[in-house]
């Protein structure tokens, strides 16, 4: 049946090198109209590079592309868009100082005599957002002010804004919640019905299983195989991805929960975090679930001292006296670490080497009287890179050269280098491949076994249910309920996440009293 569908884009032996790295090698691919074609592979397998080549953002150094059986060699992104090929990249391309509407229609702003017609623009944008079900995003808000998840949605919206023949989505759901993922899927299906082809890149196997018709597995830049989705089991896919037998064996054994490591009381930050209290123990993994904008990131940042708090107290390591955490520096001194959700802006020094990124937060361990002990540093970084299976050819490489998932691993490596006892992970597995993801789970588990307290914020509830000992659910800035593993009740957690939005009585009362 696949044969009947027209081939829209065909790749013949496409290759691309970065210095000594062969990122993409002799790739052959046929993308058919009306089909969702999944690209899977480990971090650094070359998925993003390949899609950037298709979208005209990178020039291949070998091979040929055929669009509708005619040679196709776009020299930039604009040209590819003219030919109807659009991409939603893994790294955001929004201009943070422009509004949502301006970003969506950046390439063809409605104008008369060179003056932008804002009324038309905003109307068009708001219609589009509504269509895709994103009516909660206001077209005139500044893109940079939106939370990461919403930024990704805007990015997708701009990909959907115009007619296209081929839409490439590079890890579109990395920071979306289930509900938003559903929205996206319905859009993808609509697009397929119109005869367009979709390339879908993701590390989430269950998503791929649901949406994709055909899957191509990449390893080290080469195509391992292309097959219909039905003919492969998830296990087979992952085995071929990593090139060895692999099992997703991970079970959180009942931990030996130690003494209280962190006690938060009545923490409030503006309207985002309202009066939350909880306790985290040594040796346990505490998850934070909730919808986008529920205030989880804000709460974690406040605990870490990254943002000023309005009220509340934080007790550390079982102490009876509250600790003063006015800055991240205080937090780190008290043994708290935070992996921010936004690695590019807040986590990494992109133009600096893997080595200096890795040891940034723990320089005192690699120096004597202010003098850097390079040998010790190099040894540590090399070892850690191997342990985390960081895909690079040299630890002197700049961080921006790493693939998305490997950048995330680097942030993890930075904090593992410190001796922090309380580790807060905000979306730690965003963009990490399945193999690495389970490695990270094992790592977190291991850290917990070593009596560290682990806090994990994630939009992926399945992940939290797999990983955590307890899950705290936040809803509209409040911590509404904490669930124990016995085992977790997914439906109940979901209900809790909506609670404050459906019955916000509690909060209104509170505000009236305040």
């Amino acid at each position: 049946m696949n044969q009947i569908r027209p081939v829209i884009l065909e790749l013949r032996g496409i290759g691309k090198s970065f210095g000594p790295v062969r990122a993409v090698d002799a790739v052959v691919l046929r993308l058919q109209g009306g089909q969702v074609h999944a690209l899977v592979g480990e971090n650094g397998a070359g998925k993003s590079t390949l899609s950037k080549i298709m979208a005209g953002m990178l020039a291949p150094d070998g091979g040929q592309m055929m669009l509708d059986a005619k040679p196709y060699a776009p020299s930039n992104r604009n040209e590819a868009e003219q030919s109807g090929i659009r991409i939603v990249t893994q790294e955001f391309n929004l201009i943070s100082t422009l509004t949502v509407a301006e970003n969506i229609f950046f390439n063809d702003l409605p104008r008369s005599c060179g003056v932008i017609r804002y009324s038309t623009l905003n109307e068009k944008a708001s219609r589009l957002l509504q269509q895709i079900g994103l009516d909660f995003i206001h077209p005139t808000s500044r893109a940079g002010d939106l939370p990461v998840g919403s930024q990704q949605l805007v990015e997708i919206a701009s990909g959907l804004s115009r007619q296209c023949r081929l839409l490439i989505l590079d890890e579109p759901t990395a920071s979306l919640t289930d509900k938003e993922t559903e929205l996206l899927f319905s859009q993808i299906k609509a697009l397929c019905r119109q005869g367009a082809a979709v390339v879908y890149i993701s590390h989430r196997m269950e998503e791929i299983r649901r949406i994709a018709d055909v899957v191509t597995i990449l390893r080290d830049g080469r195509v391992v195989c292309t097959d219909t989705m039905d003919s492969l089991t998830t296990g087979e896919i992952v085995n071929r991805m990593v090139g060895r037998d692999w099992s997703d064996e991970y079970r959180r054994t009942t931990p030996e929960t130690g003494p209280v490591a962190l006690r938060v009381e009545h923490l409030s930050v503006g309207k985002k975090v309202r009066d939350i209290s909880f306790v985290a123990h040594r040796g346990e993994i505490l998850g934070f679930a909730g919808l986008m904008g529920a205030g989880r990131t804000e709460a974690m940042r406040a605990i870490f001292g990254a943002d000023p708090i309005d009220s509340g107290r934080i007790y550390l390591h079982g102490s009876q006296r509250p600790s003063r955490i006015a800055s991240p520096k205080d937090a780190v001194r008290h043994g708290i670490a935070l992996l921010t959700e936004n690695r590019k802006e807040e986590g990494l020094l992109l133009i600096k080497s893997i080595r200096s990124n890795c040891t940034l937060a723990s320089m005192e361990k690699f120096s004597t009287a202010g003098y850097v002990r390079s040998a010790r540093e190099k040894k540590h970084v090399g070892g850690l890179a191997d342990r985390l299976r960081l895909r690079c050819w040299n630890t002197e490489q700049a961080a921006w050269e790493l693939s998305g998932g490997n950048q995330q691993k680097l942030v993890v490596a930075k904090w593992l280098s410190t001796e922090c006892d309380i580790l807060i992970f905000d979306e730690p597995t965003r963009g990490i491949d399945v193999g690495a993801k389970f490695e990270l789970y094992h790592l977190l588990s291991d850290l917990a076994r070593r009596q560290k307290a682990i806090l994990v914020v994630s939009s992926d509830l399945k992940e939290l249910m797999l990983l955590c000992d307890r899950i705290a659910v936040m809803s509209a800035g409040r911590l509404v309920e904490v669930f124990d593993r016995k085992p977790f009740d997914e439906a109940a957690i979901n209900r809790a996440a909506f609670r404050e939005y459906v019955h916000p009585v509690h909060s209104q009362e509170h505000e009236r009293n305040a």
């Binding site: 870490f304 991240p328 986590g347 990494l348 020094l349 002197e396 410190t418």
Partner: protein, 320 residues
């Protein structure tokens, strides 16, 4: 994991490039200027670079943290007039005057840093203000008059070790020390990090403010130090160092330090200073016309920066 390494160290390719550019320049003047390859030419250059070099070291640090210091020329002028006024008008001992000059420079730098950091202001505007303030103060201290310093500071210019003057040795020492600090110490690492992504540094549990403060104060301190050398050579003229900030920035940028912060090398800065100095001395020796001098100097600055662009590209393996 596969991990190869390129053998030729990056720093070597960098310095080789700069040294090559310098060599070409020397060769050109060797042909065009009379007596260019003489001992005295190199002594002149060695006499002329110390003050600029010392300022450029401070400027390199400031640019690395993504700041800029437009006040160095004026601060140098002010420190010099303070030295002159204390020595001549107030009859103070040499050590005290010299100390005071350095302290005044340090104070100006500290003030730049405090204002920049406390209110998160762009250093461009803060140091622009300081540029005016320090110049005004220098004119005030001297009543707009050059103070002639009879011989007190001659030991600075006249002490020679193996034929090399004290200021030159001092400048080279500062360059080496600063390069060591930049590439081998935690402070250097933090400086580069702050210039690259200040927020990421803050969220790594490091307070970027003291780092910035120290860098600005250091720039002022070095301006104070440079002023001692300037004053010893040229007397205490309140107009000393006018426009020097641009010359210094040019030298630093020729050395490959980025105006965007996060990237720079003190040794390369020194090469940048040498290139500019050789260029100016050579053009003067070749008896070039005023207009020619300016045309050529400008062209060399732009060419050097373009060269640096390609050097960066080669380093990052970004072909095509």
């Amino acid at each position: 994991m596969k991990r190869f390494s390129w053998k030729l160290p990056v720093w070597l390719t960098d310095y080789l490039g700069m040294a090559g550019a310098l060599a070409i320049l020397l060769a050109v003047f060797g042909f065009t200027a009379e007596n260019f390859f003489s001992r005295s030419t190199f002594l002149i250059i060695a006499d002329q670079v110390p003050d600029i070099t010392i300022l450029a070291v401070g400027m390199t640090f400031v640019l690395i943290i993504a700041g800029i210091d437009l006040s160095v020329g004026s601060v140098m002028g002010l420190s010099g007039t303070v030295v002159g006024a204390l020595l001549v008008n107030a009859g103070q001992p040499v050590w005290l005057a010299v100390m005071a000059g350095v302290v005044v420079g340090f104070g100006c730098g500290l003030l730049n840093g405090l204002v920049t950091v406390r209110w998160s202001l762009p250093s461009f505007i803060v140091t622009l203000g300081m540029m005016e303030i320090a110049r005004g103060a220098a004119l005030r201290v001297t009543q707009s008059r050059t103070i002639y310093i009879p011989g007190y500071l001659d030991f600075i210019t006249e002490t020679r070790l193996l034929g090399i003057s004290l200021p030159f040795l001092l400048a080279v020492g500062i360059v080496l020390l600063a390069q060591l600090v930049l590439s081998r110490t935690v402070f250097g690492r933090y400086m580069v990090a702050v210039g690259t992504n200040e927020e990421a540094v803050r969220l790594s549990g490091i307070n970027p403010r003291p780092i910035k403060l120290v860098v600005f104060a250091l720039s002022g301190l070095l301006a104070g130090l440079a002023s001692i050398i300037q004053t010893a050579r040229y007397q205490a003229n309140p107009n000393n160092g006018q426009g020097v900030e641009l010359q210094v920035i040019a030298a630093v940028v020729i050395g490959g330090t980025s105006l965007m912060g996060g990237r720079g090398s003190v040794i390369s800065t020194f090469f940048g200073v040498l290139i500019i100095s050789v260029l100016e001395t050579g053009l003067a020796q070749a008896n070039a016309q005023e207009s020619t001098k300016r045309l050529i100097t400008g062209a060399v600055i732009v060419a050097a920066v373009i060269l640096d662009y390609y050097r960066q590209r080669i380093r990052h393996g970004k072909a095509g």
